[in-house]
Symmetry: C2
Subunit: 121 residues, 2 copies
DNA sequence: TGAGTGACCTACTTTTTGGTAAGTTATTTT
DNA sequence: AAAATAACTTACCAAAAAGTAGGTCACTCA
């Protein structure tokens, strides 16, 4: 049993998971991995199905955990930008693996995501 | 939007996640990765905090998704054994990455899991 | 013979999660 | 001047997930 900041983890994997479980988290992170800088509404428009409630909740937690950083571009008309931190980038192999793994499975089931990517919005 | 077996996925990552999200799934899989063959009670004893209800539920889903396979060792005194399938083994980079990533983070926070592993049950 | 073990299942309840829809502030566009 | 956009927040509620505690069947061990 590993203990850190009042929380307990059964093993390192359990610990790692604590950063990334939560609906939308990996999707948000990988989105940033592929697009680097995104606004709040970029997420709204590109993650089909997220409610704003969930989105801001997850963004807040990711920020708290230092995986992403929010930059305030302007205050008067409030504009922001989200990006992966260096720490968030250390999860790159994860984004890549999950993507590759999924693509390969799909291919074996007759869906060529790479080839048909233009079909997907 | 990707469609497969009546379900929709926003991207390959979303699709991959559908196999592994669910409390305990990654933990069960990685457990099998490190120990190869495990009985039902092995899981009970080595995943601190799982309820039997959750355990059998997750095992069932993992089996359905062909990530693990259950072998019935004997019927009369009912004994079984769980193991990763070849397909389940294709997730090996995931188990490894999540483990390494966690260990490294912990180390940077003053917890040397490798060195202190004997302390953890 | 009675207790314990292994591999579960089931009903019931509680907790957590997530959806819905509306509201806020300040600006830009029409 | 009205509508739309950006970036959120909030309250309320339904649904889903997970905990609890019990039960089953068939051994095996003391």
């Amino acid at each position: 049993m590993i203990q850190l900041n009042d929380k307990k983890y059964t093993c390192p994997i359990d610990f790692s998971l604590s950063f990334i479980d939560g609906k939308w988290k990996i999707l948000i992170l990988s989105h940033l991995h592929y697009c680097s800088n995104r606004s709040y509404s970029d997420f709204c428009n590109n993650l089909p199905g997220v409610s704003e409630k969930m989105l801001s909740q997850q963004l807040k937690e990711l920020e708290r955990d230092k995986l992403i950083i929010k930059t305030i571009l302007s205050k008067k008309p409030y504009r922001v930008e989200y990006a992966l931190t260096e720490f968030g980038k250390t999860l790159t192999p994860l984004y890549q693996f999950l993507s590759d793994w999924g693509i390969q499975y799909l291919k074996q089931n007759g869906i060529d995501y790479i080839k048909d990517q233009h079909l997907y919005k």
